[in-house]
């Protein structure tokens, strides 16, 4: 009796959850479908779209007409570059705060977090002018610097919450056995910290890839990553649904895959450890 009731309940929940899930996912599914249709077919009614011939032509036109790969490469350089530089700066800082906490460690951490609360538009003008004077507008170097700085607090915080879970006694034991600071970091801490560092890396690449305030305001054509390139479709000429879909599909696919891998760490990273 009870078993039948639970199975029935499970069936109802299954149907409801799948309907909601597909509804939320539908816009993404739809652009993937449109990206494999010709421009003329992409604006037809939904049923006609589904029946229309599948084709790869949008993918090739996007590349031929706008050098899509350059923007894709810009996105890769900006997100991976800023994340790696951020990690190089953040790992020692987080290590020190987690294992050699001082009286002011908490204050330093909170202050770092507070820099993240600064609305970007509040410093838009000075950053724009500094970049103009230094010739950094529309350059990858300039954007890597900005993206590193805006994500640094998140990187430090995420690493800090991971490092704090590593028992300090292990480090003391290593020290007793005569390990130097360098050995400690290289042979004891690093292997234990790699999972935390890996998820920090993933989450930050995602955040930097999708960043759309500074990338839109500080780039024109040369250094524009995908966020800015896709924004150029806001005032298109002629038919563009299939091309926009193809460009979008390629822009979100790598991040969707990384995002699915890092979904567990996402909560912790984005709430600064407040929800685990």
């Amino acid at each position: 009796m009870a078993r039948a009731a639970t199975t029935q309940r499970k069936a109802i929940v299954t149907v409801a959850a799948w309907i909601v899930g597909i509804a939320i996912f539908f816009p993404i599914l739809w652009i993937v479908i449109l990206s494999f249709k010709s421009e003329g077919d992409a604006i037809r009614t939904p049923l006609e779209v589904l029946r229309a011939q599948w084709t790869l032509e949008s993918y090739t036109t996007v590349q031929e007409r706008s050098n899509y790969l350059r923007h894709f490469w810009n996105s890769v350089v900006l997100s991976v570059g800023s994340t790696l530089i951020g990690l190089i700066i953040a790992v020692p800082a987080a290590w020190a705060m987690a294992f050699v906490p001082g009286k002011r460690t908490k204050d330093v951490l909170m202050w770092m977090l507070s820099t993240k609360m600064l609305p970007p538009v509040g410093v838009l003008v000075p950053i724009y002018l500094i970049f103009r004077d230094l010739g950094l507008l529309d350059s990858r170097v300039g954007l890597v610097i900005v993206l590193t700085l805006i994500n640094l607090p998140i990187i430090i915080w995420m690493l800090y919450t991971y490092f704090r879970e590593i028992p300090g006694e292990i480090l003391e034991a290593a020290r007793m056995d005569g390990a130097t600071l360098r050995d400690e970091i290289l042979y004891v801490l690093t292997p234990m910290a790699v999972p935390g560092i890996a998820s920090t890396l993933l989450l930050n690449i995602i955040l930097a890839w999708n960043e759309a305030f500074w990338t839109l305001n500080l780039t024109a054509a040369k250094a524009a990553p995908l966020t800015a390139f896709i924004a150029s479709y806001s005032s298109p000429e002629g038919l563009f649904y299939a091309k926009l879909s193809a460009a979008s599909t390629m822009a979100i696919a790598p991040i969707l895959i990384m995002g699915w891998f890092s979904q567990k760490q996402l909560v912790r990273g984005l709430t600064f450890g407040a929800v685990k």
């Binding site: 705060m97 909170m110 977090l113 600064l118 002018l129 305030f213 649904y241 926009l244």
Partner: protein
């Protein structure tokens, strides 16, 4: 246990991060503050002069400021309302056992990973476009007049788009919180005759309160700075109907080249964001002690 030596090493390891963030904060912030008291337009170089509070007076008495402030509050409030209520309901649904949990979870989280310019343009063209969009097709099929969402209800449409992006975030965090709820407590309550509504109201909701607060605070920080979605859909229009504070300051500084006025707006945006930030920091700070 920490020795003098390791303390010095620790300080050395923290200093690059601290110095960089300090520079990132102090240099542009003091420039913004300084510019906000100048008459400074990029179209008239060399004409800069000190004007006291004039920029603030102009910015604050501009009808566009009031409209932008209202729109900002509506945008933040509307998205919060939709995502928190929707996220709670979705989390309750997904927390039940059902077939294909992993796949549904992946589908629900997906919109969060879509870059803002893509989601805004896809909704604008493939869904909300009155002629070729799916909503237009649906209206046609039902025999209704197609509705031009972005020109007739621009702010509502943007609230809808942004909610789609942030619903996964709220759902994911609330779901994580729900899963840490003690199942035995729920079972005990059920044995004692508590109905589903009572269990939700007296056990689940208090347990979720903290996660909901975190969702509200973190989303508010990001939602105050919504920019790309407005830029690619409505450009803040028609008129100022969908201009928020971030977009207004952007227009003033980079489209009208009014550095002084834009900076005064920037200072005001910083003050507003700080009010939210103080609450958020308190929440996270408490967790640090635990």
């Amino acid at each position: 246990m920490a020795t003098q030596h390791s303390r010095a090493a620790a300080r050395l390891m923290i200093s690059p991060a601290v110095l960089l963030l300090l520079g990132w904060m102090i240099v542009p912030l003091s420039m913004t503050l300084y510019f906000s008291f100048l008459r400074y337009n990029l179209l008239m170089p060399g004409m800069e002069e000190f004007t006291g509070w004039t920029n603030y007076r102009f910015f604050l008495t501009d009808p566009a400021f009031f409209a932008a402030l209202t729109n900002t509050l509506l945008l933040v409030g509307g998205v919060l309302l939709i995502t928190v209520i929707g996220g709670t309901l979705l989390a309750l649904l997904l927390d039940q056992p059902f077939w294909g949990q992993g796949i549904v979870r992946i589908m629900v989280i997906a919109p969060f990973f879509v870059m803002p310019t893509v989601s805004a343009l896809v909704w604008k063209n493939m869904f909300m476009n009155p002629v070729n969009g799916l909503f237009g097709h649906a209206a046609h099929w039902l025999g209704l007049e197609p509705y031009d969402f972005l020109s007739q209800a621009p702010l509502m449409s943007i609230i809808g788009i942004v909610s789609w992006q942030w619903l996964p975030f709220a759902t994911l965090i609330l779901l994580t919180a729900l899963q840490s709820l003690d199942q035995e407590q729920l079972e005990a309550a059920e044995m004692d005759g508590a109905g589903a509504v009572q269990r939700f109201g007296y056990i689940m909701l208090p347990h979720l309160a903290r996660a909901i607060t975190v969702v509200i605070l973190i989303q508010t920080i990001f939602l105050l700075s919504i920019f790309a979605e407005i830029l690619v859909t409505t450009n803040g229009g028609p008129g100022t109907a969908s201009t928020n504070l971030t977009y207004l300051i952007y227009m003033q500084s980079l489209l009208q080249f009014d550095v002084g006025g834009g900076s005064a707006g920037g200072v005001i945006a910083i003050i507003l964001a700080n009010i939210v930030a103080i609450f958020l920091m308190r929440m996270i700070g408490k967790n640090l002690d635990a």
